[in-house]
Structure formats: structure tokens, C-alpha cells
Amino acid sequence: MAHVRRAAIRAGVLGLLLLPLLRVVALAADATVTIDNFTFNPATITVSPGTRVVWVNRDDIPHIVVGRDDKSIKSPPLDTGDSYGFTFSHAGTFAYFCGIHPMMQGTVVVR
């Protein structure tokens, strides 16, 4: 049984060593923009390539996330509590707005 315990300890140590790395990966994979009071928060978000940005609508009114130039960014209507994710693979600056309240604007900077 001793070798089993050693293996478990080894795995635990390995896990502890990997933990910071995993956390970094988790952060890079998921950046959140909330929608409150007809505003994207934060209005500008900077992420690394490969990041999935998730928009969460916390208003009682639906919103639609639409890329200004990149038309592949387009959410379905987001009702209260709904979210939409888009993975930004390449570096660049991506302006977007709400397709039904176009004064709502935001930017994703990927670098």
C-alpha cells in the first residue's frame, strides 16, 4: 500500500505545481463582459489570442452582440441572464455594438 500512497502524494504534489498554470489557462479561456443598464462592462477588454469572451445580459431588456466589422460576431437575442461566447483566435481590435440598441458599444482588444 505504501507505493500507492507515494503515488497519491506524487500526484498531489504535481497537482499543486500545476495549479497556478491551470488557473492562468482558465483565465485566458474565459473573459466576461456583463451588460448592465444598457452598458457593456468593461467597455474595452484586452485578452490574449484564443480567449473566449462571454457576454452576460443582466438587464431586463434583451440585447444582441454584433461585430461592427467582423460579422461572424453575432449573438442570438440575449434575454435576462442569457450569455453568448465568442473565441477570438487572432490578434486585433474588434469593435462591437448592440444590434437593437446601437448606442451601446464595446471593444475587444486581442494581443
Binding site: T39, P62, P77, D79, G99
Partner: protein, 311 residues
């Protein structure tokens, strides 16, 4: 409200209307739509010949289910009952958009059945909540048959009605939008018409700029107004902002209707144009309502009566 020797200016009438409170009856008389208090002006108007009265409802938002209104079908039903009570000999009704909250078929069904109980032929224009799915195809098929892009016109007792769609192809940072195609159609539609023909324009988002920071206006609305300026009587009826606002510019009178679902704040009084959530239950119906519009040929001016669902 007016007689031959003492005709109040339209501005004066509109000022009066500000205090009139909640269903609007529109009467178009002598080329000038007029509004009057239900129970006061209506009886007078009914005696005139060639008059036209019609009703307006707006912003039903069937599918909205949150504070301050957990029962939007219920308040629409109340609004339609009020229409039945107030309509008199109304020729028709207009619905200025946001029939649904999320463009769902079931929401369209509910609204269609409830509005149908008004007994009035109803002419719709889309709100942005009605075109969320598939570019609004389901809305247009049901509510604007024969007008697949949501704009159209018709005549009723000498009055020319124009329904416009300013809720699609919106541009980043912009307001409501008519677009070049629709403006070209409008120019063509109005060409050759006598300047003495009364015009009623109805669209969801206000055609004039009410509050740009909240998107309450139409980017190219001024181009539409320019096409209408040569007419002696133009009435522009909108919804979208869930409260009554009005102004007069030359021969053009603008008026927005209350919602039948929930009130929105006065610009500058809240962080966003979202629903006013903290309205006490016993006050909600004072902030919802319908409109009656009256036009009486040969008499000044057009009258709009806003009537709330409750005190």
C-alpha cells in the same frame, strides 16, 4: 375645445393635451388632426361630417415578465377593453410596435388574439423587439401582410396613413434608421399628393430626436420630415419610449404613446432607459395607456387624447 371664433393654437391644444392623461383618440378634421378629452371633445367631434377618429396602442411587450409587470397579456387585455369603451366610431387602430418582447411565435399569437378583440382593423409597424429573429420575417408575415419590409401606406376617409419601419439595419453608435430604400419609397409615395391632404405617419422609434444618449431618435428621420413639410397637416405618432412626449414643428405635430406593458423613465432621471421597476402596483396602470386621435374637417386642430388604464 375650440369653436369658429376662438380657435386655440395647436401648440395650446398640445399643451392642454399634456395634462390630459392616457388613451389617445385622434381625430383629423380640416386637414389637422386634433385630440380632445374623451367625454368632452369626442361628442362634438362625432357631430362633424367627414371626420376620422382612430385609436393607437403601443409597446405591448408580450413575453416581458418582470417588475413592474408580471402580466403583460393582462394589461394588454385591459387596454383593449378601454379601446372598446373609447373607440366610438373609430375607423381603425394603429399599433406602433414592440408587439412582443422576444419575437416568439407564441408571443405574436397572444398579442394577435388580444388585439383582435378590439373589433378594429389594426395596422402595425415593427418595434425592435419584433424583428429579433430571422430579420423579422414572422412579424411581417402576420402583422404587415403585403409589406415584407414593414413599410406601407393607405388612405382612409381622405387621410393618408404612412407606416414606417425604423428598427432594422441599425448602425453602430447610431439611432433608429429608415435607410435609403425606404426614404426613396416615401418620396415616391408622397409625390403628386395634394399638400392639403392630411398625413398621418406612424413608426416605432420617435422620428425626431428625443434623447440621443438613450437612442431615442432616428438618424435619418429629418430626411423623412423634409419630405412631409410641404403638407398642411402632418401628424407623426410613435411609441418606443413608453411615455407621452409631444412637440410641434411648423405643420408637423409629433406625439408618442404610452406602453400597455411598463413605463420607462424620463430621460436624465435614471441610469438607463430600462423598465421602471419600482413602480407601486397601485400606480402601474396610471403609467400605461392608449390613445384616441380625432380629425374633424373644417375645424382646428387635430386632437389626441391619452387615457391611462387606471388612476
Amino acid at each position: 375645445m375650440a369653436d369658429a371664433t376662438n380657435i386655440p393654437s395647436r401648440r395650446k391644444v398640445l399643451e392642454c393635451m399634456t395634462w390630459a392623461g392616457a388613451a389617445a383618440v385622434w381625430t383629423v378634421a380640416g386637414g389637422v388632426p386634433r385630440s380632445s378629452l374623451i367625454g368632452v371633445g369626442t361628442a362634438q367631434a362625432a357631430e362633424a361630417t367627414g371626420e376620422l377618429t382612430f385609436m393607437q396602442i403601443s409597446d405591448s411587450h408580450i413575453g416581458f415578465h418582470a417588475a413592474p409587470n408580471m402580466d403583460t397579456p393582462g394589461t394588454l387585455k385591459e387596454a383593449v377593453a378601454l379601446v372598446r369603451q373609447q373607440r366610438g366610431d373609430s375607423a381603425l387602430m394603429i399599433h406602433t410596435g414592440d408587439v412582443s418582447h422576444l419575437s416568439a411565435d407564441s408571443q405574436f399569437d397572444t398579442a394577435w388574439q388580444l388585439v383582435g378583440e378590439s373589433g378594429l382593423q389594426t395596422h402595425y409597424v415593427p418595434g425592435e423587439h419584433d424583428v429579433l429573429i430571422d430579420d423579422g420575417k414572422a412579424f411581417f408575415a402576420r402583422f404587415t401582410p403585403g409589406a415584407p419590409r414593414g413599410w406601407y401606406s393607405f388612405d382612409e376617409r381622405g387621410v393618408h396613413f404612412v407606416g414606417l419601419n425604423n428598427v432594422q439595419n441599425l448602425k453602430a453608435g447610431g439611432l433608429g434608421n429608415l435607410g435609403a430604400d425606404q426614404l426613396a419609397w416615401l418620396k415616391d409615395d408622397l409625390a403628386g399628393r395634394s399638400a392639403s391632404q392630411p398625413i398621418v405617419v406612424f413608426a416605432h422609434v420617435p422620428l425626431w430626436t428625443v434623447a440621443p444618449q438613450w437612442g431615442w431618435g432616428t438618424d435619418d428621420g429629418a430626411q423623412a420630415i423634409d419630405l412631409l413639410k410641404r403638407f398642411g397637416s402632418v401628424t407623426v405618432l410613435n411609441g418606443h419610449i413608453h411615455q407621452i412626449m409631444q412637440k410641434v414643428e411648423g405643420t408637423v405635430a409629433f406625439h408618442t404613446a404610452r406602453s400597455t406593458a411598463f413605463p420607462q423613465p424620463v430621460p436624465g432621471t435614471a441610469p438607463s432607459p430600462g423598465p421602471m421597476k419600482d413602480v407601486p402596483a397601485d400606480k402601474l396602470r396610471s403609467m400605461l395607456g392608449i390613445d384616441k386621435v380625432m380629425y374633424v374637417p373644417g375645424k382646428q386642430p387635430l386632437a389626441i387624447v391619452d387615457t391611462p388604464l387606471g388612476a
